[in-house]
């Protein structure tokens, strides 16, 4: 089993990183009625872990006995009925699902899911369409007597104000590097590993403050080479590697031909199921590493601009490509201006 899963805290008491939040949650569910909850924070900070621990706190061990199923909903949408299939994770006490997997029909899912009069855990709320969020709002009001929602998302800014105000917002910060180091050392001790000094810190540094990432790459290092050496290379994720390749392609040459090649590579990423927003984000951060100061602001602006449009549109590749083309034209202008 991967260490990430092996050493995942199962109860609120076992939590290492967000102890304070865990304490509060514990008090919340033991002492009074639990409100709707909205967990938000960057990925790898422990939202899911906290949620699972919280459920366990409420329902005891039975919350861990989950079953996975593909549930079908028949939704009567006026003139026609829509069949929707979605993977749900449910125990006797709670149901967990990611409505955004249903694409633009997410609002039906949100609506249908309210039929479970239990605790409903919704993942990736920030990816829900506006309609679905409104629909969710209604669910929260109507069934607040019998149903508790636990929402989980990365960015609360993409969740409508209305929903945020109906929930108790719990921000889960990304763990600090020393906290990550602490966790890594804890795992190392449990596994009986010899950690060279500074190695855990390097892993934590590379992890971009994502605990999950840190543990995973820690284990990768373990698979790759053990005993550790303090200057051991920490392998990057395959797709990140690829994105930085694209990035250097874009910096090296700005021409329609290159744009065409970049598109091919973007397609490659999309085919490998990398979410387009992540691609854009990563691409930008890679570009920012190499760009001249004066361009940074402009490029950031355009990246944000195209990300927004990407969410509004459907064919992500168009928007990614528009960003690449825009960048190329800006960068080319800049190069010509500076170097003639």
């Amino acid at each position: 089993m991967l260490w990430v899963d092996k050493y995942r805290p199962k109860t609120l008491d076992q939590v290492i990183v967000h102890q304070e939040i865990a304490e509060n949650l514990k008090k919340l569910v033991t002492e009074q009625d639990c409100p709707h909850l909205l967990f938000y924070g960057p990925s790898g900070s422990g939202k899911k872990t906290l949620i699972m621990a919280l459920l366990r706190q409420i329902f005891g061990i039975s919350a861990e006995k989950v079953k996975v199923e593909n549930r079908t909903w028949k939704i009567d949408a006026g003139s026609r009925t829509i069949d929707l299939e979605l993977t749900t994770l449910s125990s006797t006490n709670h149901v967990e699902l990611s409505p955004s997997d249903a694409g633009f029909q997410d609002r039906y899912i949100v609506h249908a899911a309210s039929a479970y009069l239990t605790v409903l855990v919704l993942n990736e709320v920030d990816k829900l369409s506006r309609e679905a969020q409104h629909s969710l709002r209604r669910t929260m009001e109507k069934y607040s007597a019998s149903c508790r929602l636990i929402l989980c998302c990365n960015s609360s800014s993409k969740v409508t104000e209305a929903i945020r105000s109906r929930c108790l917002n719990v921000r889960i910060n990304a763990p600090k590097e020393d906290q990550i180091v602490k966790v890594l050392e804890f795992i190392g001790k449990k596994e009986g590993l010899q950690l060279p000094p500074g190695f855990a810190a390097r892993v934590a540094d590379k992890s971009n403050r994502s605990l999950r990432r840190a543990i995973l790459s820690f284990e990768t290092c373990r698979v790759q080479q053990y005993p550790f050496s303090s200057n051991q290379a920490i392998p990057p994720m395959d797709w990140e590697e690829y994105v930085s390749e694209i990035c250097s392609d874009m910096m090296r040459e700005q021409s329609p031909k290159r744009l065409f090649q970049v598109r091919g590579k973007l397609y490659e990423l999309l085919i490998n199921c990398i979410p387009p927003e992540i691609i854009l984000k990563k691409l930008l951060s890679e570009l920012l590493k190499k760009l001249d100061e004066e361009l940074k602001h402009e490029v950031c602006h355009w990246a944000a601009y195209y990300e927004h449009r990407m969410r509004m549109g459907q064919k992500a590749i168009f928007h990614l490509e528009a960003f690449v083309a825009k960048f190329m034209s800006i960068y080319k202008a800049f190069l010509i201006e500076t170097f003639g």
Partner: protein
């Protein structure tokens, strides 16, 4: 159209009342001067004369009548209104030019200095107001002409030099324009770089051209257009009559060899331009003596009386000029004769045959009792049928689609009081005339069944009934249809003499159209009518309607008018998205009108944007030439500053395409279909306008073909991979070891999973590695397909395959080990369990977790027998539905403490059960319809552990 026809009708009607001729209308009404500006009034006389100049001759003749009329004059005012609105500005200019050349009067009046502001005034004012502009233009032309010889000479040579080299494969475009296939014909090498001259409208009159190969700067269609506009004639192949062979390169084709044989002179494009230009130069002096149109005008009065009385009783041009005798039919004369003979002989043939027994079948062409005329609409099928019958003294009874032609009542004896079909039956079986009497004195009848292929739902059993009618008929039946090969008519065809009408040639049509035009007092040249004939695609009726329509707004119709009028209607063909994209990006893309562009992009609103998205990289950036300025400025790719501009335009185009995507979401998701034009604008037209030109070759040796965007294919791959990933995700979730999101799985876990799965295989000795990997797979309930998924998703183009370096023996060992392991136990997904009696795995994906075999072994004591019994019974139980549920439940509760459970959910009422397996030790399921049943032990775990679960699921 509708309204205008009505107007025509009304007009004709008025005419009928007044017994006056058309041209009277053209007289300016008394009210007209009031609408004109004071400036105009100064030259009132001339203006007046101008307005009526088209009909100058006629007017004189009918002056007497006109004075009396008031009503038609008013109507004329209306017509004028229509005219001034209708005529597009661009046309005006040319028209004015024509006027200038045709009309003696206008020359001295040119310099009258009317202000340009009058352009939009009444139509009569227009003529004059345009003059100053015209003067300027001809001045410009003169300037141009001075420099043109120099330019054209040099250019011509250059053009040939360039185009000479690749001439090998090209130039087999012997067909007429309109082929828009790729690679059919190359683009002209200097496309759009030359300026096309304008000359006297009839400077090429009487000349016949044949175009061969690729011209230097003009597209084939453009060249044809140019020649036709100047009165020339284009033919497809070289003959003795051909005056010039127009070609810029000698391609040794059939045309050129024939031309050499016949001694036809060759003409280059530049030569043609020079010819046209020079005509402009000498035009001024020559204008007075070469007045073909004026002759026409003078010839009109002769015909006008005839026309006048035609007008009095017929309204629609198509009706009015319907042939009166069979000889007037255009084309298909032999068919008409055949029909004539058939009808003539019908009576002898069948009536006599009826009397004398059936010995007369030998005469095959007339042996059929009915005839089926087929052919496209508007070529005179019905007309010839009626005419022929009329000529032979038959009384034609026409039944067409507007009549009910269903199956006749079985009881025909009920008489004709019922349906129309009964009438027909009655009609054909009627022998009221009795053959003892002298037949010639009696009215013979013929039944014309029009539009038989239109017999449809409303005419139930129509065709069968018609056949029955033919069999018993005592009168001739003429059936008419458009599509002889229609499925409906298959049976009918056997009973009919088939006569297929063909479209008349354009020469035949234009001949007739000229007669009509003359009769109508229209001034039309032959080329224009030929064009009209061609555009309507052989439909004479349509040609007449169009002619009539145009005659409402103008009395001189030239080539361009016809072109413009019919551009939309005639070219209404289906174009593929590829062609559409080619057109949009083609050089002349910039010249297309907006509605044409929208039309192109709408040819497939989903596909065209995708193609465009692809296409944009391959386009040279070409600055759109300003069409109005005389200096064409064409910047080719190399000339702009390091491709800077091009890159910027590509960025803009890309953004515009992305806009299109956003709009598309609005359209599809929120059904905002009114946005579709905006969508096509931003996804197709703007990118196409920003970037157009020919393709740039990005890869060596690629085909000269539109590359397909690949979005569709890529998108489906993405979909497939997402599905696979989701499978993997579910399996991971089912293992209960992890509770992760799908994105997390892809972004963070996948690399590690891959490493865990492949690295040991590479580094450790075979057995150990295999064992380790299989164990890992089992922990996460990853099956082999999932492993393939993991590998597949980690492949990146240009990077190595993650499975490289793993010996195939190891892989095989892994597969074996995994399968072995699986037999005994383990966490796995039920969607892959093969179910007895079911070929396909359950559509519902179910995560199943079966117990490790050691558990089973431990608890096996004595249960095993009972268990197996139970299993057997459970097969039947399942079919019995929920009745056994309770029993199972109780058993289940007793066994609850045991580790192994397979949960079977029987949907109440439905036999078809959906199986779900719960993880070990799980409490009772929430839903009432859930039964749990211990299963999946069995000794040694071999096979039996999965079987129960499988059976249960059926």
């Amino acid at each position: 159209m509708q309204r205008d026809i009505r107007k025509w009708l009304m007009k004709a009607h008025d005419k009928g009342n007044d017994n006056a001729s058309t041209n009277a209308e053209k007289k300016p009404p008394p009210t007209e001067p009031k609408t004109e500006t004071p400036v105009r009034e100064g030259q009132e006389g001339s203006g007046r004369r101008k307005t009526s100049k088209y009909f100058a001759a006629n007017k004189q003749k009918h002056k007497g009548d006109e004075e009396v009329e008031d009503l038609p004059a008013k109507r004329k005012a209306q017509n004028d209104g229509v005219q001034s609105v209708k005529a597009p500005p661009s046309k005006k200019v040319r028209k004015v030019e024509d006027d200038e050349e045709d009309d003696d009067f206008s020359v001295p009046k040119k310099k009258n200095g009317a202000s340009p502001s009058k352009k939009l005034k009444s139509s009569s004012g227009r003529v004059i107001a345009q003059k100053p502009v015209d003067v300027n233009e001809s001045d410009e032309d003169d300037v141009k002409n001075i420099e043109s010889p120099l330019k054209s000479g040099g250019r011509g040579r250059g053009g040939r030099g360039v185009s000479g080299a690749p001439s090998g494969g090209r130039g087999r475009g012997s067909g007429r324009g309109g082929f828009m296939n790729f690679g059919e014909r190359k683009d002209p090498p200097h496309k759009g770089e030359k300026e096309v001259p304008e000359g006297a409208p009839n400077c090429l009159a009487g000349l016949t051209f044949v175009i061969s190969g690729t011209l230097d700067s003009l597209e084939r269609e453009e060249a044809e257009d140019l020649i036709k506009r100047h009165g020339g004639r284009i033919t497809g192949s070289v003959s003795k009559k051909t005056s010039y062979l127009l070609c810029d390169e000698d391609i040794e084709g059939r045309k050129s060899s024939k031309a050499k044989e016949l001694g036809t002179p060759f003409l280059t494009e530049d030569g043609l331009f020079d010819k046209i230009r020079s005509s402009k130069n000498i035009k001024a002096p020559a204008r007075e003596d070469s007045k073909v149109p004026v002759e026409k005008v003078t010839s009109l009065p002769k015909k006008s009386p005839q026309k006048a009385d035609l007008k009095t009783h017929k309204d629609l041009a198509a009706e009015k000029y319907r042939p009166k005798v069979p000889n007037e039919m255009i084309g298909n004369q032999s068919l008409v004769t055949q029909l004539h003979n058939w009808l003539k002989n019908w009576n002898e043939q069948f009536h006599d045959a009826g009397n004398k027994g059936k010995g007369k079948k030998q005469n095959d062409s007339t042996a059929k009792k009915a005839v089926l005329l087929s052919g496209p609409p508007g070529i005179g099928k019905t007309t010839s049928a009626t005419l022929v019958s009329k000529m032979l003294g038959f009384q034609a009874i026409e039944v067409n689609a507007s009549d009910n032609r269903g199956k006749a009542d079985a009881k025909i004896f009920k008489g004709i009081s019922g349906s129309n079909a009964n009438c027909i039956k009655e009609l054909i079986s009627n022998e009221a005339l009795g053959f003892d009497m002298d037949r010639s004195k009696h009215l013979k009848t013929v039944l014309i069944m029009d539009e038989v292929d239109g017999m449809s739902a409303g005419d139930r059993g129509g065709v069968a009934d018609l056949i029955a009618s033919i069999k018993i008929s005592k009168i001739p039946i003429i059936c008419i249809c458009n599509d002889r090969y229609s499925q409906k008519l298959k049976s009918l065809v056997n009973y009919c003499l088939l006569l297929s009408f063909r479209k008349p040639t354009k020469q035949q049509m234009s001949k007739r159209l000229i007669q009509v035009a003359n009769a109508e007092g229209l001034q039309v040249n032959e080329i224009a009518l030929e064009e009209l004939a061609e555009r309507v695609n052989g439909d004479m009726r349509m040609a007449l309607n169009q002619l009539q329509y145009m005659s409402l707004s103008m009395s001189v119709i030239n080539y361009d008018d016809v072109r413009q009028r019919l551009q939309g209607s005639a070219k209404d063909e289906d174009i593929s998205p590829f062609t559409a994209v080619d057109k949009l990006f083609g050089f002349s893309g910039g010249k297309l009108r907006m509605d044409e562009r929208i039309g192109l992009s709408m040819s497939d609103p989903d596909l065209v944007p995708l193609l465009i998205q692809l296409h944009k990289y391959f386009s040279y950036y070409v600055l759109k030439p300003k069409l109005n300025t005389k200096n064409y400025m064409t910047i080719l790719k190399g000339k702009d500053d390091n491709g800077m501009k091009r890159m910027r335009l590509i960025a803009r185009a890309a953004e515009s395409i992305a806009d299109g995507d956003i709009i598309n979401v609005q359209i599809r998701r929120y059904r905002q279909w009114q946005l579709s034009q905006a969508g096509s604008l931003s996804s197709c037209i703007i990118p196409a306008a920003l970037l157009h030109g020919s393709r740039e070759t990005l890869e060596q040796g690629e085909r000269n073909f539109n590359r397909f965007g690949g979005w569709l294919g890529k998108n489906s791959t993405v979909g497939k991979n997402l599905r696979l990933l989701e499978d993997l995700h579910v399996h991971l979730l089912a293992s209960r070891e992890s509770n992760l999101g799908r994105d997390t799985l892809r972004l963070d876990y996948l690399t590690v999973l891959l490493k865990q799965l492949t690295d040991p295989l590479r580094m450790l000795p075979k057995d150990e590695a295999v064992e380790k990997v299989v164990e890992f797979m089992n922990v996460y309930s990853i099956n082999q397909e999932d492993m393939d998924t993991i590998v597949e998703l980690s492949k990146f183009q240009g990077h190595g395959n993650p499975l490289d370096g793993i010996p195939s023996t190891v892989k095989a060992a892994l597969t074996r080990a995994y399968k072995d392991e699986n037999k005994s136990r383990m966490v796995r997904a039920a969607d892959l369990v093969a179910l007895p009696g079911k070929k396909k795995a359950l559509k519902k994906r179910v995560a199943a977790i079966l117990e490790p075999s050691d558990d089973g072994l431990r608890e096996e004591n004595g249960d095993a027998l009972a268990e197996s019994e139970e299993e057997n019974s459970s097969d039947t139980e399942d079919t019995e539905g929920t009745g056994n549920g309770e029993k199972l439940q109780s058993e289940l509760l007793s066994l609850n403490s045991k580790g192994i459970q397979v949960e079977v959910e029987l949907k109440s009422g439905k036999e078809k059960s959906k199986a779900k397996k719960t993880p070990t030790g799980r409490g009772k399921g929430g839903s009432a319809s859930t039964e749990k049943k211990p299963a999946g032990r069995g000794r040694g775990g071999s096979g039996s552990s999965e079987k129960p679960g499988a059976k249960r699921k059926r």
